[in-house]
Protein backbone atom coordinates (compact mmCIF):
# COMPACT_ATOMS: atom_id res chain seq x y z
CA UNK A 1 0.00 0.00 0.00
CA UNK A 2 2.79 2.36 0.97
CA UNK A 3 4.45 1.25 -2.27
CA UNK A 4 1.51 2.56 -4.27
CA UNK A 5 1.57 5.82 -2.35
CA UNK A 6 5.28 6.15 -2.96
CA UNK A 7 4.94 5.55 -6.68
CA UNK A 8 2.05 8.02 -6.79
CA UNK A 9 4.16 10.63 -5.04
CA UNK A 10 7.11 10.05 -7.37
CA UNK A 11 4.83 10.38 -10.35
CA UNK A 12 3.25 13.56 -9.12
CA UNK A 13 6.55 15.21 -8.34
CA UNK A 14 7.76 15.04 -11.91
CA UNK A 15 4.39 15.83 -13.39
CA UNK A 16 2.85 19.20 -12.74
CA UNK A 17 -0.02 18.62 -15.11
CA UNK A 18 -1.37 15.65 -13.20
CA UNK A 19 -0.78 17.43 -9.93
CA UNK A 20 -2.75 20.38 -11.25
CA UNK A 21 -5.58 18.07 -12.29
CA UNK A 22 -5.67 16.28 -8.96
CA UNK A 23 -5.65 19.50 -6.94
CA UNK A 24 -8.30 21.21 -9.01
CA UNK A 25 -10.48 18.10 -8.99
CA UNK A 26 -10.11 18.01 -5.22
CA UNK A 27 -11.14 21.67 -4.89
CA UNK A 28 -14.12 21.26 -7.21
CA UNK A 29 -15.28 18.14 -5.42
CA UNK A 30 -14.95 19.97 -2.10
CA UNK A 31 -17.06 22.85 -3.42
CA UNK A 32 -19.56 20.44 -4.91
CA UNK A 33 -19.96 18.36 -1.78
CA UNK A 34 -19.82 21.04 0.90
CA UNK A 35 -21.12 23.94 -1.21
CA UNK A 36 -24.53 24.17 0.49
CA UNK A 37 -22.86 24.61 3.88
CA UNK A 38 -20.23 27.11 2.82
CA UNK A 39 -20.82 30.81 3.50
CA UNK A 40 -21.12 31.69 -0.18
CA UNK A 41 -24.60 33.12 -0.15
CA UNK A 42 -27.96 31.81 -1.23
CA UNK A 43 -28.07 30.71 -4.88
CA UNK A 44 -31.83 31.31 -5.21
CA UNK A 45 -32.19 34.65 -3.45
CA UNK A 46 -33.61 37.06 -5.98
CA UNK A 47 -32.42 40.66 -6.05
CA UNK A 48 -29.47 39.98 -3.81
CA UNK A 49 -27.69 42.52 -5.92
CA UNK A 50 -28.18 44.53 -9.11
CA UNK A 51 -29.55 42.85 -12.19
CA UNK A 52 -26.84 41.60 -14.51
CA UNK A 53 -24.23 43.21 -12.29
CA UNK A 54 -20.61 42.87 -13.34
CA UNK A 55 -18.21 40.94 -11.07
CA UNK A 56 -17.28 42.94 -8.01
CA UNK A 57 -15.86 42.38 -4.55
CA UNK A 58 -19.30 41.56 -3.24
CA UNK A 59 -20.29 39.37 -6.16
CA UNK A 60 -17.19 37.67 -7.48
CA UNK A 61 -18.92 36.11 -10.47
CA UNK A 62 -21.42 38.98 -10.92
CA UNK A 63 -25.19 38.63 -10.76
CA UNK A 64 -27.79 37.26 -13.15
CA UNK A 65 -30.89 38.79 -14.73
CA UNK A 66 -32.89 38.29 -11.52
CA UNK A 67 -30.17 39.81 -9.40
CA UNK A 68 -29.09 36.47 -7.96
CA UNK A 69 -25.50 36.09 -6.84
CA UNK A 70 -23.87 34.02 -9.59
CA UNK A 71 -21.06 32.48 -7.47
CA UNK A 72 -23.29 30.25 -5.33
CA UNK A 73 -25.22 29.36 -8.45
CA UNK A 74 -22.03 28.14 -10.10
CA UNK A 75 -21.19 26.15 -6.96
CA UNK A 76 -24.65 24.65 -7.08
CA UNK A 77 -24.06 23.90 -10.75
CA UNK A 78 -20.81 22.08 -9.96
CA UNK A 79 -22.70 19.99 -7.46
CA UNK A 80 -25.49 18.94 -9.79
CA UNK A 81 -23.26 18.41 -12.83
CA UNK A 82 -20.92 16.16 -10.85
CA UNK A 83 -23.72 14.40 -9.03
CA UNK A 84 -25.82 13.70 -12.07
CA UNK A 85 -22.90 12.43 -14.15
CA UNK A 86 -21.50 10.41 -11.28
CA UNK A 87 -24.82 8.68 -10.62
CA UNK A 88 -25.30 7.89 -14.30
CA UNK A 89 -21.74 6.66 -14.73
CA UNK A 90 -21.78 4.59 -11.54
CA UNK A 91 -24.94 2.77 -12.60
CA UNK A 92 -23.56 2.28 -16.09
CA UNK A 93 -20.22 1.03 -14.78
CA UNK A 94 -21.88 -1.70 -12.72
CA UNK A 95 -24.05 -2.89 -15.60
CA UNK A 96 -21.26 -2.53 -18.16
CA UNK A 97 -18.76 -4.43 -16.03
CA UNK A 98 -21.16 -7.31 -15.51
CA UNK A 99 -22.09 -7.49 -19.18
CA UNK A 100 -18.51 -7.09 -20.37
CA UNK A 101 -17.27 -9.82 -18.03
CA UNK A 102 -20.06 -12.14 -19.09
CA UNK A 103 -19.34 -11.49 -22.75
CA UNK A 104 -15.59 -11.98 -22.35
CA UNK A 105 -15.73 -15.04 -20.15
CA UNK A 106 -18.81 -16.94 -21.29
CA UNK A 107 -18.08 -16.25 -24.95
CA UNK A 108 -20.11 -17.69 -27.79
CA UNK A 109 -23.79 -16.71 -27.71
CA UNK A 110 -23.57 -14.42 -24.69
CA UNK A 111 -20.68 -12.63 -26.33
CA UNK A 112 -22.57 -12.24 -29.59
CA UNK A 113 -25.68 -10.90 -27.90
CA UNK A 114 -23.83 -8.46 -25.64
CA UNK A 115 -21.54 -7.29 -28.44
CA UNK A 116 -24.48 -6.62 -30.76
CA UNK A 117 -26.33 -4.84 -27.97
CA UNK A 118 -23.31 -2.62 -27.37
CA UNK A 119 -23.07 -1.95 -31.11
CA UNK A 120 -26.71 -0.89 -31.23
CA UNK A 121 -26.29 1.60 -28.39
CA UNK A 122 -23.00 2.78 -29.84
CA UNK A 123 -24.70 3.52 -33.17
CA UNK A 124 -26.62 6.44 -31.65
CA UNK A 125 -24.51 9.60 -31.60
CA UNK A 126 -24.89 10.75 -27.99
CA UNK A 127 -26.61 14.08 -28.54
CA UNK A 128 -28.82 12.78 -31.32
CA UNK A 129 -29.89 10.01 -28.98
CA UNK A 130 -30.46 12.78 -26.43
CA UNK A 131 -33.03 14.37 -28.72
CA UNK A 132 -34.90 11.09 -29.05
CA UNK A 133 -34.77 10.43 -25.32
CA UNK A 134 -35.98 13.94 -24.60
CA UNK A 135 -38.84 13.37 -27.03
CA UNK A 136 -39.80 10.15 -25.28
CA UNK A 137 -39.16 10.94 -21.63
CA UNK A 138 -39.46 14.68 -21.69
CA UNK A 139 -36.62 17.00 -20.65
CA UNK A 140 -35.17 16.50 -17.20
CA UNK A 141 -32.59 14.74 -15.07
CA UNK A 142 -33.89 11.26 -15.89
CA UNK A 143 -33.36 11.94 -19.59
CA UNK A 144 -29.84 13.16 -18.94
CA UNK A 145 -29.00 10.05 -16.96
CA UNK A 146 -30.43 7.83 -19.68
CA UNK A 147 -28.46 9.55 -22.41
CA UNK A 148 -25.22 9.34 -20.44
CA UNK A 149 -25.83 5.63 -19.93
CA UNK A 150 -26.54 5.02 -23.60
CA UNK A 151 -23.33 6.81 -24.53
CA UNK A 152 -21.02 5.22 -21.97
CA UNK A 153 -22.38 1.69 -21.60
CA UNK A 154 -20.78 0.47 -24.86
CA UNK A 155 -17.41 1.87 -23.72
CA UNK A 156 -17.53 -0.09 -20.46
CA UNK A 157 -18.69 -3.26 -22.19
CA UNK A 158 -15.96 -3.12 -24.81
CA UNK A 159 -13.11 -2.36 -22.44
CA UNK A 160 -14.16 -4.85 -19.77
CA UNK A 161 -14.79 -7.50 -22.39
CA UNK A 162 -11.33 -7.21 -23.88
CA UNK A 163 -9.58 -7.13 -20.50
CA UNK A 164 -11.63 -10.14 -19.42
CA UNK A 165 -10.58 -12.02 -22.54
CA UNK A 166 -6.96 -11.48 -21.57
CA UNK A 167 -7.40 -12.46 -17.93
CA UNK A 168 -9.56 -15.49 -18.73
CA UNK A 169 -6.70 -17.05 -20.66
CA UNK A 170 -4.36 -16.97 -17.69
CA UNK A 171 -3.25 -19.94 -15.71
CA UNK A 172 -5.03 -19.16 -12.47
CA UNK A 173 -8.41 -19.10 -14.20
CA UNK A 174 -7.78 -22.43 -15.87
CA UNK A 175 -6.56 -23.86 -12.57
CA UNK A 176 -9.77 -22.74 -10.85
CA UNK A 177 -11.88 -24.24 -13.63
CA UNK A 178 -10.05 -27.54 -13.35
CA UNK A 179 -10.53 -27.47 -9.58
CA UNK A 180 -14.26 -27.33 -10.28
CA UNK A 181 -14.99 -23.67 -9.50
CA UNK A 182 -18.39 -22.47 -10.68
CA UNK A 183 -18.69 -19.83 -13.39
CA UNK A 184 -19.94 -17.32 -10.84
CA UNK A 185 -17.02 -18.02 -8.52
CA UNK A 186 -14.49 -17.60 -11.32
CA UNK A 187 -16.07 -14.30 -12.29
CA UNK A 188 -16.28 -12.90 -8.78
CA UNK A 189 -13.05 -14.20 -7.26
CA UNK A 190 -10.72 -14.29 -10.24
CA UNK A 191 -11.95 -11.98 -12.95
CA UNK A 192 -13.57 -9.04 -11.17
CA UNK A 193 -10.55 -7.98 -9.06
CA UNK A 194 -8.37 -8.14 -12.15
CA UNK A 195 -10.58 -6.02 -14.39
CA UNK A 196 -11.20 -3.38 -11.73
CA UNK A 197 -8.13 -1.36 -12.71
CA UNK A 198 -9.39 -0.97 -16.26
CA UNK A 199 -12.86 -0.19 -14.95
CA UNK A 200 -11.51 2.60 -12.76
CA UNK A 201 -9.67 4.18 -15.69
CA UNK A 202 -12.75 3.90 -17.87
CA UNK A 203 -14.79 5.36 -15.04
CA UNK A 204 -12.88 8.62 -15.16
CA UNK A 205 -13.26 8.89 -18.93
CA UNK A 206 -16.94 8.04 -18.73
CA UNK A 207 -17.33 10.68 -16.03
CA UNK A 208 -15.84 13.34 -18.27
CA UNK A 209 -18.05 12.24 -21.16
CA UNK A 210 -21.02 12.22 -18.80
CA UNK A 211 -20.29 15.78 -17.71
CA UNK A 212 -20.03 16.93 -21.31
CA UNK A 213 -23.31 15.26 -22.22
CA UNK A 214 -25.13 16.47 -19.14
CA UNK A 215 -24.07 20.05 -19.64
CA UNK A 216 -24.76 19.91 -23.38
CA UNK A 217 -28.28 18.63 -22.78
CA UNK A 218 -28.87 21.24 -20.10
CA UNK A 219 -27.45 23.87 -22.42
CA UNK A 220 -30.05 22.84 -25.01
CA UNK A 221 -32.72 22.98 -22.30
CA UNK A 222 -33.23 19.24 -22.31
CA UNK A 223 -31.45 18.38 -19.06
CA UNK A 224 -31.61 20.04 -15.67
CA UNK A 225 -34.60 22.37 -15.52
CA UNK A 226 -34.87 25.72 -13.70
CA UNK A 227 -34.87 26.65 -10.90
CA UNK A 228 -32.23 23.94 -10.40
CA UNK A 229 -28.87 24.90 -11.84
CA UNK A 230 -26.22 22.79 -13.52
CA UNK A 231 -23.18 24.23 -15.23
CA UNK A 232 -24.88 23.59 -18.58
CA UNK A 233 -28.11 25.30 -17.64
CA UNK A 234 -26.16 28.30 -16.29
CA UNK A 235 -24.44 28.55 -19.64
CA UNK A 236 -27.81 28.44 -21.32
CA UNK A 237 -29.02 31.18 -18.99
CA UNK A 238 -25.91 33.21 -19.63
CA UNK A 239 -25.88 32.82 -23.40
CA UNK A 240 -29.11 34.84 -23.57
CA UNK A 241 -27.16 37.79 -22.16
CA UNK A 242 -23.88 36.91 -23.82
CA UNK A 243 -23.13 40.37 -25.14
CA UNK A 244 -24.25 42.43 -22.17
CA UNK A 245 -23.27 40.10 -19.30
CA UNK A 246 -20.49 37.83 -20.62
CA UNK A 247 -19.33 36.90 -17.09
CA UNK A 248 -22.14 34.39 -16.74
CA UNK A 249 -21.02 32.35 -19.73
CA UNK A 250 -17.34 32.87 -18.95
CA UNK A 251 -17.47 31.85 -15.29
CA UNK A 252 -19.64 28.79 -15.75
CA UNK A 253 -17.83 27.83 -18.96
CA UNK A 254 -14.39 28.06 -17.40
CA UNK A 255 -15.47 26.13 -14.32
CA UNK A 256 -17.11 23.44 -16.48
CA UNK A 257 -14.02 23.09 -18.68
CA UNK A 258 -11.79 22.97 -15.63
CA UNK A 259 -13.94 20.26 -14.06
CA UNK A 260 -13.85 18.10 -17.19
CA UNK A 261 -10.13 18.67 -17.65
CA UNK A 262 -9.23 17.70 -14.11
CA UNK A 263 -11.20 14.48 -14.43
CA UNK A 264 -9.42 13.77 -17.71
CA UNK A 265 -5.99 14.48 -16.25
CA UNK A 266 -6.56 12.19 -13.30
CA UNK A 267 -7.82 9.54 -15.72
CA UNK A 268 -4.69 9.91 -17.86
CA UNK A 269 -2.48 9.44 -14.83
CA UNK A 270 -4.46 6.38 -13.74
CA UNK A 271 -4.07 4.86 -17.18
CA UNK A 272 -0.36 5.63 -17.31
CA UNK A 273 0.07 3.87 -14.00
CA UNK A 274 -1.93 0.86 -15.13
CA UNK A 275 -0.39 0.53 -18.55
CA UNK A 276 2.83 2.48 -18.90
CA UNK A 277 3.78 3.09 -22.50
CA UNK A 278 7.52 3.25 -22.87
CA UNK A 279 8.61 3.66 -26.41
CA UNK A 280 12.29 3.65 -27.24
CA UNK A 281 14.21 6.59 -28.61
CA UNK A 282 15.08 6.35 -32.26
CA UNK A 283 18.81 6.78 -31.82
Amino acid sequence: MSGVARIARRRLRGDGLTLFGAVSLGCLLFLGIFGPWLPLGDPSRIAAGPRLGAPSAAFLFGTDELGRDFLPRVVQGIRSTFLLSAIAVAITAVIGTLLGMAAGYLGRHTDQIVARGADILFAFPALVAGLLVAAVMGPGQASAITVISIATLPLFIRVVRSVTLGVAGRGFVTAAEVAGASTLRVMVVHLLPNVMGAVMVQLTYALSIGMIIESALSFLGLGVQPPDASLGSLLRQGSAYLTIAPWMVLSSGVVLSLAIMSVNLVGDAARDALEPLKGRPLT
Binding site: R6, I7, R10, K278, P281, T283
Partner: protein, 331 residues
Amino acid sequence: MTAMTAPLVDIADLVIEYDTGTRQVRAIDGAALQVFEDETLAIVGESGSGKTTLGMAAGRLLPPEARVLGGRIHVADVDVSDADDDALRRLRHDKLGFVFQNPTTALDPTMRIGRQVALAMGGRPAPEAIAELLSRAELNEPQRILRAFPHELSGGMAQRVVIAMAIARSPQLLIADEPTASLDASIREKVMATLGRLRAESGASLVILSHDLRMIARHADRVAVMYGGRIVELGAVGQVMQAPAHPYTRALLAAAAGNERPGERLRPIPGTPPILESRCEACAYAPRCAFRETRCETERPEPRAFAGREVVCHRAEAVIAADQSPRQEAR
Protein backbone atom coordinates in the same frame (compact mmCIF):
# COMPACT_ATOMS: atom_id res chain seq x y z
CA MET B 1 42.51 -18.05 -31.42
CA THR B 2 43.39 -14.80 -33.07
CA ALA B 3 44.77 -13.19 -29.97
CA MET B 4 47.39 -11.26 -31.92
CA THR B 5 45.07 -8.94 -33.86
CA ALA B 6 43.26 -6.08 -32.18
CA PRO B 7 39.95 -7.26 -30.80
CA LEU B 8 36.77 -6.44 -32.69
CA VAL B 9 34.93 -5.80 -29.46
CA ASP B 10 36.73 -4.54 -26.40
CA ILE B 11 34.68 -4.07 -23.26
CA ALA B 12 36.33 -3.20 -19.97
CA ASP B 13 35.11 -2.34 -16.46
CA LEU B 14 31.60 -1.84 -17.76
CA VAL B 15 28.99 -0.77 -15.20
CA ILE B 16 25.33 -0.40 -16.17
CA GLU B 17 22.37 0.29 -13.92
CA TYR B 18 18.63 0.38 -14.53
CA ASP B 19 16.31 2.88 -12.94
CA THR B 20 13.21 0.78 -12.28
CA GLY B 21 11.25 3.72 -10.92
CA THR B 22 11.47 2.46 -7.36
CA ARG B 23 15.16 1.64 -7.14
CA GLN B 24 18.43 1.29 -8.98
CA VAL B 25 19.34 -2.20 -10.17
CA ARG B 26 22.91 -2.88 -11.23
CA ALA B 27 22.76 -5.14 -14.26
CA ILE B 28 26.44 -5.02 -15.22
CA ASP B 29 28.92 -4.83 -12.35
CA GLY B 30 32.31 -4.39 -13.96
CA ALA B 31 32.26 -6.75 -16.92
CA ALA B 32 35.22 -7.17 -19.26
CA LEU B 33 35.13 -8.98 -22.58
CA GLN B 34 36.98 -9.13 -25.87
CA VAL B 35 35.64 -10.57 -29.09
CA PHE B 36 38.09 -11.34 -31.87
CA GLU B 37 37.65 -11.54 -35.59
CA ASP B 38 36.16 -14.63 -37.14
CA GLU B 39 35.05 -16.37 -33.97
CA THR B 40 31.82 -17.43 -32.32
CA LEU B 41 31.56 -16.39 -28.70
CA ALA B 42 28.66 -17.44 -26.54
CA ILE B 43 27.58 -15.53 -23.49
CA VAL B 44 25.60 -17.78 -21.18
CA GLY B 45 23.72 -16.89 -18.08
CA GLU B 46 20.34 -17.13 -16.47
CA SER B 47 17.77 -14.38 -16.63
CA GLY B 48 19.01 -11.34 -14.76
CA SER B 49 22.65 -12.26 -15.22
CA GLY B 50 23.16 -9.28 -17.51
CA LYS B 51 23.86 -11.03 -20.80
CA THR B 52 21.21 -9.21 -22.81
CA THR B 53 22.27 -5.87 -21.32
CA LEU B 54 25.86 -6.60 -22.32
CA GLY B 55 24.87 -7.60 -25.86
CA MET B 56 22.65 -4.59 -26.41
CA ALA B 57 25.27 -2.25 -24.93
CA ALA B 58 27.62 -3.24 -27.75
CA GLY B 59 25.27 -1.43 -30.17
CA ARG B 60 24.12 1.15 -27.60
CA LEU B 61 20.64 -0.25 -27.96
CA LEU B 62 19.79 -0.20 -24.28
CA PRO B 63 16.39 1.06 -23.18
CA PRO B 64 16.44 4.63 -21.88
CA GLU B 65 16.10 3.64 -18.23
CA ALA B 66 19.56 2.07 -18.48
CA ARG B 67 22.58 4.18 -17.51
CA VAL B 68 26.16 3.39 -18.40
CA LEU B 69 28.01 4.46 -15.28
CA GLY B 70 31.50 3.56 -16.26
CA GLY B 71 33.84 1.49 -18.36
CA ARG B 72 34.63 1.27 -22.00
CA ILE B 73 32.91 -0.27 -25.01
CA HIS B 74 34.88 -0.26 -28.22
CA VAL B 75 33.40 -1.96 -31.27
CA ALA B 76 35.38 -1.99 -34.52
CA ASP B 77 37.48 0.92 -33.23
CA VAL B 78 34.45 3.04 -32.41
CA ASP B 79 33.97 4.20 -28.84
CA VAL B 80 30.33 3.24 -28.58
CA SER B 81 29.49 5.09 -25.37
CA ASP B 82 31.07 8.28 -26.66
CA ALA B 83 30.12 8.25 -30.35
CA ASP B 84 27.66 10.82 -31.68
CA ASP B 85 24.39 9.64 -33.20
CA ASP B 86 25.75 9.74 -36.72
CA ALA B 87 28.87 7.71 -36.04
CA LEU B 88 26.80 5.25 -34.08
CA ARG B 89 24.33 4.91 -36.92
CA ARG B 90 27.16 4.26 -39.36
CA LEU B 91 28.58 1.61 -37.04
CA ARG B 92 25.23 -0.15 -36.74
CA HIS B 93 24.55 0.25 -40.42
CA ASP B 94 27.87 -0.98 -41.76
CA LYS B 95 29.41 -3.21 -39.16
CA LEU B 96 26.77 -4.67 -36.85
CA GLY B 97 23.96 -7.14 -37.40
CA PHE B 98 21.42 -8.09 -34.75
CA VAL B 99 19.23 -11.17 -34.49
CA PHE B 100 16.50 -10.96 -31.89
CA GLN B 101 14.76 -13.57 -29.82
CA ASN B 102 11.27 -13.36 -31.27
CA PRO B 103 11.46 -13.05 -35.05
CA THR B 104 7.77 -12.37 -35.65
CA THR B 105 7.86 -9.21 -33.53
CA ALA B 106 11.23 -8.14 -34.92
CA LEU B 107 9.62 -7.67 -38.34
CA ASP B 108 7.26 -4.82 -39.18
CA PRO B 109 3.81 -6.46 -39.27
CA THR B 110 2.44 -4.11 -41.93
CA MET B 111 5.25 -4.43 -44.48
CA ARG B 112 5.91 -7.21 -46.97
CA ILE B 113 9.06 -9.26 -46.36
CA GLY B 114 10.56 -8.25 -49.69
CA ARG B 115 10.46 -4.57 -48.85
CA GLN B 116 11.82 -5.09 -45.35
CA VAL B 117 14.73 -7.10 -46.67
CA ALA B 118 15.33 -4.45 -49.34
CA LEU B 119 15.46 -1.76 -46.65
CA ALA B 120 18.00 -3.82 -44.73
CA MET B 121 20.11 -4.25 -47.87
CA GLY B 122 20.05 -0.54 -48.60
CA GLY B 123 19.74 1.18 -51.95
CA ARG B 124 17.32 -0.30 -54.45
CA PRO B 125 18.23 -3.96 -54.72
CA ALA B 126 16.81 -5.96 -57.61
CA PRO B 127 14.19 -8.56 -56.70
CA GLU B 128 16.64 -11.25 -57.80
CA ALA B 129 19.22 -9.98 -55.32
CA ILE B 130 16.67 -10.09 -52.50
CA ALA B 131 15.62 -13.60 -53.46
CA GLU B 132 19.26 -14.62 -53.63
CA LEU B 133 19.86 -13.30 -50.11
CA LEU B 134 16.86 -15.22 -48.81
CA SER B 135 18.09 -18.41 -50.45
CA ARG B 136 21.44 -17.95 -48.75
CA ALA B 137 19.54 -18.06 -45.47
CA GLU B 138 18.14 -21.39 -46.69
CA LEU B 139 14.65 -20.17 -47.37
CA ASN B 140 13.01 -22.21 -50.07
CA GLU B 141 10.58 -20.47 -52.40
CA PRO B 142 12.06 -17.00 -51.88
CA GLN B 143 9.67 -15.58 -54.45
CA ARG B 144 6.68 -16.53 -52.35
CA ILE B 145 8.28 -15.25 -49.15
CA LEU B 146 9.09 -11.90 -50.73
CA ARG B 147 5.40 -11.21 -51.12
CA ALA B 148 4.39 -12.53 -47.70
CA PHE B 149 3.68 -10.54 -44.57
CA PRO B 150 5.46 -11.56 -41.35
CA HIS B 151 2.38 -13.16 -39.79
CA GLU B 152 2.14 -15.50 -42.75
CA LEU B 153 5.52 -17.09 -41.95
CA SER B 154 6.33 -19.78 -39.42
CA GLY B 155 8.69 -18.86 -36.60
CA GLY B 156 11.59 -20.69 -38.23
CA MET B 157 11.08 -18.96 -41.58
CA ALA B 158 10.73 -15.57 -39.91
CA GLN B 159 13.98 -16.10 -38.01
CA ARG B 160 15.75 -16.97 -41.26
CA VAL B 161 14.43 -13.72 -42.72
CA VAL B 162 15.76 -11.84 -39.70
CA ILE B 163 19.12 -13.56 -40.13
CA ALA B 164 19.16 -12.67 -43.83
CA MET B 165 18.49 -9.04 -42.92
CA ALA B 166 21.24 -9.09 -40.30
CA ILE B 167 23.87 -10.31 -42.77
CA ALA B 168 22.55 -8.20 -45.67
CA ARG B 169 25.40 -5.70 -45.48
CA SER B 170 28.12 -8.17 -44.53
CA PRO B 171 28.62 -6.91 -40.98
CA GLN B 172 31.79 -7.61 -39.04
CA LEU B 173 29.90 -8.49 -35.89
CA LEU B 174 26.64 -10.41 -35.48
CA ILE B 175 24.90 -10.33 -32.13
CA ALA B 176 22.17 -12.92 -31.65
CA ASP B 177 20.04 -12.75 -28.49
CA GLU B 178 18.51 -16.17 -27.80
CA PRO B 179 18.12 -16.69 -31.55
CA THR B 180 16.37 -20.05 -31.23
CA ALA B 181 14.56 -19.78 -27.90
CA SER B 182 11.20 -19.03 -29.48
CA LEU B 183 11.49 -21.74 -32.13
CA ASP B 184 10.34 -25.34 -32.07
CA ALA B 185 12.92 -27.81 -30.83
CA SER B 186 13.06 -29.75 -34.09
CA ILE B 187 14.21 -26.74 -36.14
CA ARG B 188 16.47 -24.99 -33.62
CA GLU B 189 19.46 -26.96 -34.67
CA LYS B 190 18.92 -26.19 -38.36
CA VAL B 191 18.49 -22.46 -37.80
CA MET B 192 21.62 -22.37 -35.65
CA ALA B 193 23.48 -24.26 -38.37
CA THR B 194 22.38 -21.68 -40.94
CA LEU B 195 23.51 -18.84 -38.72
CA GLY B 196 26.85 -20.55 -38.14
CA ARG B 197 27.39 -21.24 -41.82
CA LEU B 198 26.63 -17.66 -42.86
CA ARG B 199 28.97 -16.38 -40.20
CA ALA B 200 31.77 -18.64 -41.38
CA GLU B 201 31.20 -17.69 -45.04
CA SER B 202 31.40 -13.98 -44.29
CA GLY B 203 34.21 -14.21 -41.77
CA ALA B 204 32.22 -12.11 -39.31
CA SER B 205 32.26 -12.69 -35.60
CA LEU B 206 29.16 -13.98 -33.89
CA VAL B 207 28.14 -13.34 -30.30
CA ILE B 208 25.34 -15.60 -29.12
CA LEU B 209 23.50 -14.69 -25.94
CA SER B 210 21.82 -17.77 -24.57
CA HIS B 211 20.85 -19.78 -21.55
CA ASP B 212 21.07 -23.06 -23.45
CA LEU B 213 24.37 -24.68 -22.48
CA ARG B 214 24.02 -27.66 -24.77
CA MET B 215 23.29 -25.57 -27.84
CA ILE B 216 26.28 -23.39 -27.09
CA ALA B 217 28.54 -26.38 -26.67
CA ARG B 218 27.80 -27.35 -30.25
CA HIS B 219 28.04 -23.95 -31.90
CA ALA B 220 30.48 -21.67 -30.09
CA ASP B 221 34.27 -21.48 -30.06
CA ARG B 222 34.55 -19.67 -26.76
CA VAL B 223 32.08 -19.23 -23.96
CA ALA B 224 31.66 -16.48 -21.37
CA VAL B 225 29.62 -17.40 -18.31
CA MET B 226 27.84 -14.48 -16.66
CA TYR B 227 26.69 -14.22 -13.10
CA GLY B 228 25.69 -11.15 -11.10
CA GLY B 229 26.57 -8.76 -13.92
CA ARG B 230 30.13 -10.06 -14.37
CA ILE B 231 31.79 -12.56 -16.63
CA VAL B 232 32.87 -15.18 -14.14
CA GLU B 233 34.48 -17.64 -16.51
CA LEU B 234 35.72 -17.21 -20.06
CA GLY B 235 37.48 -19.78 -22.18
CA ALA B 236 37.33 -22.32 -24.97
CA VAL B 237 34.02 -24.15 -25.01
CA GLY B 238 35.49 -27.62 -24.62
CA GLN B 239 37.59 -26.65 -21.62
CA VAL B 240 34.90 -24.73 -19.79
CA MET B 241 32.19 -27.30 -20.37
CA GLN B 242 34.31 -30.32 -19.51
CA ALA B 243 36.30 -28.94 -16.60
CA PRO B 244 34.68 -25.79 -15.27
CA ALA B 245 36.91 -23.68 -13.06
CA HIS B 246 34.13 -21.53 -11.61
CA PRO B 247 31.76 -23.14 -9.12
CA TYR B 248 28.77 -21.48 -10.80
CA THR B 249 29.64 -22.98 -14.21
CA ARG B 250 30.06 -26.32 -12.55
CA ALA B 251 26.74 -26.06 -10.71
CA LEU B 252 24.93 -24.87 -13.82
CA LEU B 253 26.14 -27.90 -15.78
CA ALA B 254 25.03 -30.22 -13.01
CA ALA B 255 21.62 -28.60 -12.87
CA ALA B 256 20.80 -28.68 -16.58
CA ALA B 257 18.57 -31.51 -17.71
CA GLY B 258 20.04 -33.27 -20.72
CA ASN B 259 23.48 -34.16 -19.42
CA GLU B 260 22.32 -36.68 -16.84
CA ARG B 261 22.28 -40.44 -17.32
CA PRO B 262 18.95 -42.26 -16.97
CA GLY B 263 18.04 -42.46 -13.29
CA GLU B 264 20.66 -39.91 -12.29
CA ARG B 265 19.42 -36.97 -10.27
CA LEU B 266 19.87 -33.33 -11.24
CA ARG B 267 21.62 -31.15 -8.68
CA PRO B 268 19.89 -27.76 -8.45
CA ILE B 269 21.79 -24.72 -7.26
CA PRO B 270 20.56 -23.73 -3.82
CA GLY B 271 19.34 -20.18 -3.27
CA THR B 272 18.45 -17.53 -5.82
CA PRO B 273 20.50 -15.22 -8.06
CA PRO B 274 21.38 -11.83 -6.55
CA ILE B 275 19.78 -8.54 -7.51
CA LEU B 276 22.51 -5.98 -7.04
CA GLU B 277 21.78 -2.40 -6.10
CA SER B 278 25.40 -1.26 -6.08
CA ARG B 279 28.91 -2.59 -6.61
CA CYS B 280 29.26 -6.03 -5.09
CA GLU B 281 32.19 -5.97 -2.66
CA ALA B 282 32.35 -9.73 -2.36
CA CYS B 283 31.86 -12.65 -4.69
CA ALA B 284 28.24 -12.38 -5.85
CA TYR B 285 27.99 -16.16 -6.00
CA ALA B 286 29.37 -16.78 -2.51
CA PRO B 287 26.01 -17.25 -0.74
CA ARG B 288 25.15 -20.18 -3.02
CA CYS B 289 28.63 -21.58 -3.43
CA ALA B 290 29.69 -25.02 -2.19
CA PHE B 291 33.36 -23.97 -2.25
CA ARG B 292 33.11 -20.66 -0.42
CA GLU B 293 35.44 -19.62 2.36
CA THR B 294 35.56 -16.44 4.43
CA ARG B 295 37.40 -14.29 1.93
CA CYS B 296 34.74 -15.00 -0.70
CA GLU B 297 32.33 -13.01 1.45
CA THR B 298 34.66 -10.12 2.13
CA GLU B 299 36.88 -9.72 -0.91
CA ARG B 300 35.75 -9.05 -4.45
CA PRO B 301 37.49 -11.53 -6.78
CA GLU B 302 39.20 -10.04 -9.82
CA PRO B 303 39.64 -11.73 -13.20
CA ARG B 304 42.74 -13.86 -13.43
CA ALA B 305 44.18 -16.28 -15.91
CA PHE B 306 43.93 -19.86 -14.77
CA ALA B 307 43.99 -23.22 -16.52
CA GLY B 308 43.94 -21.67 -19.99
CA ARG B 309 41.02 -19.35 -19.35
CA GLU B 310 39.98 -16.29 -17.42
CA VAL B 311 38.11 -16.83 -14.20
CA VAL B 312 36.70 -14.63 -11.45
CA CYS B 313 36.98 -16.86 -8.41
CA HIS B 314 39.19 -17.18 -5.33
CA ARG B 315 38.68 -20.92 -5.29
CA ALA B 316 39.18 -21.95 -8.90
CA GLU B 317 41.99 -24.36 -8.02
CA ALA B 318 39.73 -26.25 -5.63
CA VAL B 319 36.93 -26.34 -8.19
CA ILE B 320 39.13 -27.86 -10.88
CA ALA B 321 40.58 -30.35 -8.43
CA ALA B 322 37.14 -31.46 -7.28
CA ASP B 323 36.13 -32.11 -10.83
CA GLN B 324 38.66 -34.74 -11.80
CA SER B 325 36.25 -37.66 -11.90
CA PRO B 326 32.69 -37.06 -13.17
CA ARG B 327 31.07 -35.14 -15.93
CA GLN B 328 32.99 -36.01 -19.04
CA GLU B 329 30.04 -36.07 -21.42
CA ALA B 330 29.10 -32.47 -21.98
CA ARG B 331 29.56 -33.69 -25.51
